[in-house]
Symmetry: D2
């Protein structure tokens, strides 16, 4: 950590900073220029995480040197982490496709979509039972009944399943039904939830928040990992910007950046990332070209009758075409689907 003192900082201000650095078991390193005195704090910066150095008298600014996350960092672990879910591996050479309806709406609907996405190439079935909806007047999901249907689909179709968890109270319940907990964008900084999930041993699909920086996404992963569960799959799903042609701005730059910063796998959700079914397939192809380890997409047989997110759901036929296109891109970069 670098502490830059103000031009008019008093000698005792400098000494107070130095003493604090020593108290926290770091080594101070002082460099006096004509305009500024600069103090380096050598050692584990995380010791200083709780010290509000910017409020110290005479301090102008504080520049961190090390990343605030550790366990999830690429520096901590060089090789890619592979996440295994019932025989599927995420983070390896093979690109993984997760697909299914936004919301589970009934037995026939779920089984029918599940069968179709599987035969088209999906290896994990998604489906929401508890739904975060902006409006209290929108469909909120089938709840436990939806989970039962998901479990049945899992067994009938021999596919691992993923569903969203929104409430710490539901962890045990949902754990019984899902192979992969999904943490939605709105809960990326629901720290109570992250801590509890860190104490389970099921894999977690952690979505980036609407206005979360990549660093914050990694800090949220660190919350989970610091409790012992390192089976985390990150997911880019669009950030909020001023542009209104798309529901969100899918940030594909995040893929290569995240890959450099962490050893965890990262997938892309082009359905929420764009909010437009007419560009979902194109952006999936771009995501794979950008190095994503997989995608998660919404599929519905009748998007115009979907109880949620119909505007961004593909039909099974569109999905099938998309998987083929993705396959060609994967092949072009030396991966498989």
């Amino acid at each position: 950590m670098i502490i830059v003192m103000k031009p008019d900082a008093a000698k005792k201000d400098v000494e107070h900073v130095i003493k604090t650095i020593r108290d926290m078991k770091l080594r101070p390193h002082i460099s006096r220029g004509k305009e500024r005195t600069i103090i380096g704090a050598i050692g584990d910066e995380r010791n200083l995480a709780n010290i509000p150095l910017t409020t110290f008298a005479g301090v102008e600014k504080v520049l961190p040197i090390l990343s605030p996350y550790k366990v999830v960092s690429r520096e901590f672990k060089k090789e890619n982490t592979l996440i295994r879910i019932n025989g599927e591996t995420i983070g390896g050479k093979r690109v993984v496709i997760m697909a299914g309806p936004c919301s589970i709406e009934g037995r026939d609907m779920l089984l029918s979509i599940g069968k179709k996405v599987k035969s088209a190439g999906a290896s994990i079935l998604r489906g929401g039972a508890f739904k975060p909806r902006t409006s209290p007047y929108s469909f909120q999901g089938m709840g436990k009944e939806g989970l039962e249907l998901l479990k049945e689909a899992k067994h009938l179709l021999h596919m691992p399943v993923v569903t969203e968890i929104m409430d710490t109270r539901d962890i045990d319940l949902i754990a019984d039904y899902t192979d992969l907990f999904q943490v939605g964008a709105r809960n990326m900084q629901n720290f109570s939830l992250l801590k509890e999930l860190g104490s389970t041993n099921k894999p977690i699909l952690l979505k980036r928040g609407l206005s979360a920086t990549i660093k914050e996404l990694l800090m949220s992963a660190e919350y989970i990992a610091s409790k012992g569960n390192e089976k985390i799959i990150l997911c880019e799903r669009g950030i909020r910007t001023f542009e209104t042609e798309t529901r969100n701005t899918l940030d594909l730059n995040a893929i290569p950046v995240i890959k450099k910063l962490t050893h965890l796998p990262v997938i892309v959700d082009p359905s929420h990332g764009t909010g437009r079914r007419d560009i979902v397939a194109t952006m999936s192809m771009a995501a794979i070209a950008a190095g994503a380890d997989g995608i998660i997409v919404e599929v519905h047989e009748h998007p115009d009758k979907a109880l949620s997110d119909g505007e961004q759901s593909l039909t099974p036929d569109e999905f099938k075409q998309m998987v083929k296109a993705i396959g060609r891109i994967a092949h072009a970069i030396g991966r498989t689907i």
Copy 2:
């Protein structure tokens, strides 16, 4: 709601939209131009909330006419809502000042700050016991022990208290200790939490999310209100933008805009809104000039030793000066403190 058809929409596409509008008990109104056919849906648009009209064949775009929130809207209730908390009234002529430490760090510390902010003019004491922190390695709050101290302070100082709730499991616990539940920015769309709080009868301080639009803030208020609890105080606390000189961009435009859209009171948090103690007082004055019903600020006797948010905490002396300055602004616009 207005449905704009594509230039090449088929006759049956138009008829399908019309039928759907009728099925949902609204009245269709068709207008055929040279370039587009446009269909109005007259009646309660909320009936259409679950219909993904944009995915219908032949539909180009859908333009909502009415706001998606109802109970909290100014149209629904013309007069300002007044929230009463142990003798204090929020939303009236008097500007309300909430102050206290970011985190409760101990008994002496809390009582000492509480006494000072009260004598300077604060009428509600704030203090965090459960803290949402970006890093798992940062101080996470004193938890239940902190709540006990808060209760003691409340009785000794005769001040209502406010503290943050982050987890549905803590509602009963915190309800025993607080007069006002605070929902933090990161939980503004924690819908499980909002629903549960809507079933209590304690007032709620609902903070705007980092990237929440004003409409989304009102939708979250609607979540609470639709469950029966209309005692909601909204709080502007800064949004995320590209500017880095301030931690967030305190959006004071939101104050007059919110006042027009809803009957609920709205306060401002300049501490989180700016992240800089050197401009907190100035922005508090601006907030009152913009029509805020109050402010909530962080105060610490030794900001450089604060366990959280020291960089944005005022000293008791700075707070005292600020209250005086706010008083002059309030007076200038015909209000009191």
Copy 3:
């Protein structure tokens, strides 16, 4: 255009709106609901562009139906526009690669880079002579001397060249030296410049502004096209968001969206779009997968000695590898390079 009246709009307010619509040669269409009266204006909305309808008494909001641009819209012209530059075609099956140094720094440097990018697969040479720099103390470009070198390179290497125009006074000068005018992001809404360029007959490379919506980019293209010059290539080069890991957020969603809205070709600038040479190649591949008609990238033999933008310049070797990778992606989607 749809005009939504306030619930309490007076009869004369409604009549005033209707009269204005008729005065502007559009046809009004009234629909009276229980909560609102809604007036449609049928005909060419552009007639109403100068009427501030939102300020009319009794008007709540105004919703445009048609796009505000015309000549550049896909609706106006269905087939893709092909731009021909000295034998090169942009917007066809072949993906076009433009490459070269950020700034022209000297004769040997320009020729050497030019030769290398050409042999690696670039077909258009870029090089800045007039440079927009954030700081007045940074290198501002070689000016006319740089243009002379660019012309020499063009003839020696048989490559069309592109360079930036920043000032209306330089149009004639630069027209003598370049095959393609580049309008930089900071000048996307320099309307004086756009109008003048619209009166030339040279192709224009129009970059999206840092905070320009896609609609605004198309409006700026319309400025040029409305003066008679329809040879416009659009360029996505990153938008400004809250994320700081990348210099800008390259918005690849814009590619398929722009392709739907306009018949003009669109290319991507991953150098400025990301500001990081370590992810330029990856994002170029993603850009092609997203449907871009080409890319423009910065190449420098010694990025650490570049007088501008070294941090985002590829070495000739890195560029060569990138072109191969792009070729594989292009092939996978049925295009060539």
Copy 4:
């Protein structure tokens, strides 16, 4: 400047950085930690502005210590700069009000509005002759004829006038007619224009770009000042964010922040900043409370007939009320109007 080396940087990488620092006449200062070697460059960082240190082998990141602007910085000059325009002073105790129509539409209209805003308290008359409009089909201003009218109004009303300059070619022309050049948001980084204006000796009103950081605004001011013209008034006029209730997000935090960073005066434009006439007065009051040295607002006698920006123009009566309200706020903070 601080250069952080990668954990695996070679000895020769470190030496190359050190040599470069010395070559640029700064003094290197090395600090070797367990995880990183960190090199300080002591001296005038601006010497390093053209060196792309981030591209050097072994370099992880580069952290600037000093601000990149100099002449306009508060560090360079402690006292507030006062700008004098025909007897008016900007930046002193008195808050200055600039008002007038968005566009000059005719003689009577300009004189009538001018008379009214003057009698209500405005001391500088604004009026656009060359208008930057998003659409080429919108009214583009009266041009030279408008300037003539502005000059006449200036003499008849004894008020200094301000009008926008958009093109380097118009500088001499406009200089003959205006007392204060306005540089609009879209031209904040039109560096050709800034340089030319820096060579005049007329005051400049420099508006913040839609997505410009405060630092970039100050760099643009530095462009002007570095050419010799230090008579610069900065203007906050709203930034682009995700919020759509307001046309832009007026960023009042910028006022106290700018005041700390520079000695130049700063005013606020609530008309463009909000785009909504119903909140212009409120935000003007907040701007003064935040410490602005003045405001610039649009006034029109018939906003619903304005040829531009009617939706954000006040009527003369509304303006008069606003000036009174501003006066009360100014008085409350020890200033006058």
